[in-house]
């Protein structure tokens, strides 16, 4: 063994820290170390780094994009995967970017629905974490194939320059990757001047109100976070004072008492909170079957628009229901003492109705169409 030499022209391997390096707090470091010591793993050190990366990325997301929701990383058995927005993300800790390559365990590549690999530099010695880059999973798989890369000892050695080394772009893209749900409410100005948009909306995925009678919300309604309300026969004592169903009760008794709308106790309802031009509104849809001449029953769609608790509905707000041909019914809040709007239509099972809410400035929000297919 020769004398260790350290010449003046020797590379020191110094690196410049990122301005947005995340300082891990002591509690997180202690937690990561203790957890990896006791966890069921044959490589506690790797788990420790993985947990540090996870904690760091959580801090990073909270600091950089509070809008993005993400899953927790606390389960050591799943510590390398984190759901960010709609993106299933694999956290890939690496000691140093300048090493030129990173090891990706081949078993992680089999994870179903994996979207992206996030490259996280863990400076264990400093207790710091730096998010450095990302690589979309399909692109990685494609590149592995193109380069005919083979796994060795359980991992692929992937060059750093396959990654996009601009983590800000990751944030932009994660927000963009949230697949723009087809059933998202459509916001438009002057819906009346857009017959084509109305037709498109009517043809899109629909909310099937018939499932409510089975105590279910279908997927479209779930995506929009509709709340299915308990049936009307449900004990009033079970409800909280400001719950949607309580508010609906008041409105319905008003309707039956003063406006001679009859609502059977078998009717079911769901509620949806939203905003149009800053106004916090709540839409109730109440539906029930009607006896009909045909084999399948007809159905009744009652739409009620009210402000959310402690909010106001602006004067001039309009509630509309359309079908494929025409605007069927429309009511406008033109009285300051009015507290809600309602509109009602009756249809055949396969008929589709479009409910829109229009602000005083003609910005309208249109929900996915309603159908009733038992």
């Amino acid at each position: 063994m020769t004398n260790p030499s350290l010449d003046y022209d020797e590379i020191l391997g110094e690196r410049f820290l990122q301005p947005d390096a995340i300082d891990l707090d002591e509690a997180s470091i202690t937690w990561a170390a203790a957890t990896s010591q006791t966890a069921d793993t044959d490589d506690p050190w790797a788990l420790y780094l993985q947990l540090l990366a996870g904690v760091g990325v959580q801090h990073w997301l909270q600091e950089r994009s509070p809008r993005l929701r993400h899953s927790s990383i606390e389960n050591p058995a799943r510590s390398s995967l984190i759901q960010i927005g709609n993106t299933l993300t694999h956290l890939l800790p690496t000691p140093c970017l300048e090493d030129g390559s990173v090891e990706i365990p081949d078993r992680i590549l089999e994870t179903a629905n994996l979207d992206v690999h996030l490259l996280v530099e863990v400076l264990e010695e400093l207790g710091q974490v730096q998010v450095r880059g990302f690589l979309r999973h399909p692109e990685l798989m494609q590149a592995i194939q193109t380069a005919a890369l083979q796994p060795k000892d359980g991992s692929y050695t992937v060059p750093i320059d396959w990654f996009d080394l601009e983590p800000d772009r990751f944030l932009v893209q994660v927000e963009a990757w949230e697949p723009a749900s087809v059933s998202e409410p459509l916001v438009l100005e002057n819906l009346d001047r857009n017959p084509q948009r109305v037709a498109e909306a009517l043809a899109g995925p629909a909310i099937n109100a018939a499932t409510w009678f089975r105590d279910q919300l279908d997927q479209v309604a779930q995506e929009l976070s509709w709340m299915l309300l308990p049936s009307f026969s449900y004990s009033a004592a079970m409800r909280s004072l400001r719950s949607p169903v309580e508010q609906l009760d008041g409105i319905l008794s008003d309707l039956t008492r003063y406006r001679s709308v009859t609502i059977p106790t078998a009717a079911r309802s769901a509620a949806y909170d939203f905003r149009v031009e800053g106004a916090a509104l709540r839409l109730y849809v109440v539906t029930w079957e009607l006896p009909s001449a045909g084999a399948a029953p007809d159905w009744n769609l009652l739409a009620i628009l009210s402000p959310q608790p402690d909010a106001l509905m602006p004067l001039g707000t309009r509630l509309q229901i359309r079908d494929a041909q025409t605007l069927l019914t429309e009511t406008t809040l033109d009285d300051a003492s009015g507290t809600f709007l309602y509109a009602q239509v009756i249809g055949e099972p396969n008929e589709r109705f479009l409910i829109s809410v229009q602000s005083p400035n003609d910005i309208s929000l249109t929900l996915p169409p309603f159908v009733f297919l038992p």
Binding site: M1, N3, P4, S5, L6, D7, Y8, E10, I11, L12, G13, E14, R15, F16, L17, P19, D20, A21, E26, A27, I29, T30, A32, A33, S36, Q37, P44, W45, Y48, Q62, E63, R64, S65, R67, P95, C96, E98, D99, G100, E103, L123, E124, E125, L126, G127, K152, D153, S155, T157, D161, L165, E166, D168, L171, V172, E175, V187, L188, E189, I363
Partner: protein, 455 residues
């Protein structure tokens, strides 16, 4: 003996923090007496001085301390040359003051501690130096670059030098194989033994570090393995049937690999943005001269006006949103940093001060600390995303209103991206061009927000 004056001239800092070289006559006499002819190799000189120091002969220790002061000075100069400029370190003395601490080479003052208790890097060098293993200059440099105070200082300037042991903690067997094979032709048996050595090191060292971190997470640098730890590594190796490796050999082997790792490091190549070339806004703005197009142009003008209004509104909203989130986060830090953050931003955007100039006003010392606190790059990126979020919807509505039956719709996202790219690269370019009086829109709006929020 090259440059013999190194053994009798002391490099030190004056009370005013100025670098100064003093001649120490006792050391000169000592050197003249011990080595009348100049033809002796430095290694031999150092070995003999060490032996004399043990006698003890204070002037021999003084010679070594003079020599070490030169090497500390040289190591600092080297560091300063390597990244002083990039990191914004103002002068060499800033580094020297951390490690060049020996002002009494002959140990004459009553307050000067004995070698055993000497906390300075020079003391550490003298206690640990072994002429059989290294030369005094390289050993000194090694002690300097692993000095704790210096590391902290460099870290404040955004420069990080991993310790050997931290490097080795992160070394995979696969990577080690690659490093060794790139270095020279090695056969499989050697590689297997190398893997076993690394495994023994990591088994012991990482386990201990994990255990100590689980108890207390003080951000300590990785220290060299203790003799006890080395013993355990050797025992671990013996269990694997590798019996011919001593603790000493093991340590040297590990240090050598750490150097290999440093040498293999390359800064990554960062891909450069290809700016969006086709900008929808340009096409909309281009002259439309035929009569039919004039009406369309008017509509487009109206669209553009609403578009610009929407853009400005979205930018102001995004600025308010992003800054208030940042302030909320920073106010929870201990100590709270939100005041310093806002003050720093105000000085940067409204007063046009540089990061370095801002530092003392907000209780910081180094430019990097300001860069880190303000984190302008991230701030811009966050504002941009926030704008994109708001505008995507709003612009869609606008286009619907003004530009009917056009294929604009599909290009909207691209157009919006291009427009934001233009706005934000303008803001970014400005930061390289501190003295231009043409402020970007983003900087103007930021400044406006900052100036008014303190009303």
């Amino acid at each position: 003996m090259k440059a013999p004056w190194r053994y009798w001239q002391l490099v030190r800092l004056t009370m005013q923090g100025k670098r100064q070289v003093d001649e120490v006559f006792a050391c000169r006499d000592c050197l003249d007496a011990q080595f009348p002819e100049a033809e002796v190799a430095d290694a031999a000189v150092q070995r003999q001085l060490l032996a004399l120091m043990a006698e003890p002969l204070p002037s021999a220790e003084g010679c070594l301390r003079c020599y070490i002061s030169h090497e500390i000075d040289r190591a600092c100069k080297d560091l300063f040359m390597r990244f002083g400029k990039a990191a914004g370190i103002p002068h060499l003395e800033e580094l020297l003051i951390l490690v060049l601490l020996d002002s009494d080479p002959l140990r004459q003052r009553p307050t000067t501690p004995s070698l055993a208790d000497d906390p300075t890097p020079a003391g550490k060098v003298l206690r640990t130096f072994d002429p059989d293993k290294a030369q005094l200059n390289t050993w000194t440099k090694r002690v300097v670059i692993s000095d704790r105070a210096l590391s902290h200082y460099l870290q404040d300037y955004g420069v990080y030098l991993d310790s050997d042991w931290s490097l080795l903690n992160g070394l995979s067997a696969k990577k080690l194989r690659r490093l060794l094979s790139e270095e020279a032709r090695v056969d499989e048996a050697v590689l297997q033994e190398a893997e076993a050595i690394l495994q023994s090191y990591q088994e012991v060292y990482r386990r201990d570090r994990l255990a100590s971190r689980a108890e207390t997470a003080n951000r300590s640098r990785c220290e060299p393995p203790t003799p006890k730890q080395l013993e355990r590594m050797v025992a671990h190796l013996q269990q694997q049937g590798i019996t011919d490796i001593t603790a000493e050999v093991l340590l040297e082997q590990l240090e050598q690999w750490a150097r290999l790792m440093r040498r293999s490091r390359r800064p990554p190549t960062v891909s450069i943005d290809t700016p969006e070339t086709q900008q929808l806004i340009d096409t909309v703005e281009s002259d439309a001269l035929t009569p039919e197009e004039q009406e369309a142009a008017a509509s487009q003008q109206a669209f553009l006006q609403s578009y610009r209004d929407a853009l400005l509104k979205a930018m102001d909203g995004a600025i308010a949103q992003t800054l208030s989130h940042r302030v909320a986060t920073l106010s929870q830090r201990k100590p709270a940093k939100d005041g310093a953050f806002l003050e720093g931003l105000y000085r940067f955007f409204c007063q046009g001060e540089s990061m370095g100039a801002i530092a003392p006003h907000i209780g910081l010392t180094a430019q990097y600390q300001v860069t880190r606190l303000l984190n302008i790059k991230a701030l811009r990126a966050d504002i941009r995303r926030e704008m994109q979020h708001t505008l995507r919807q709003r612009i869609g509505e606008l286009a619907q209103q003004y530009v009917e039956a056009s294929d604009l719709d599909d290009d909207l996202d691209a157009a919006l991206d291009a427009e934001l790219e233009r706005l934000f690269s303008e803001a970014e370019a400005e930061s390289f061009n501190a003295y231009s009086d043409q402020q970007s829109l983003l900087s103007q709006r930021l400044c406006d927000y900052l100036a008014h929020r303190s009303d």
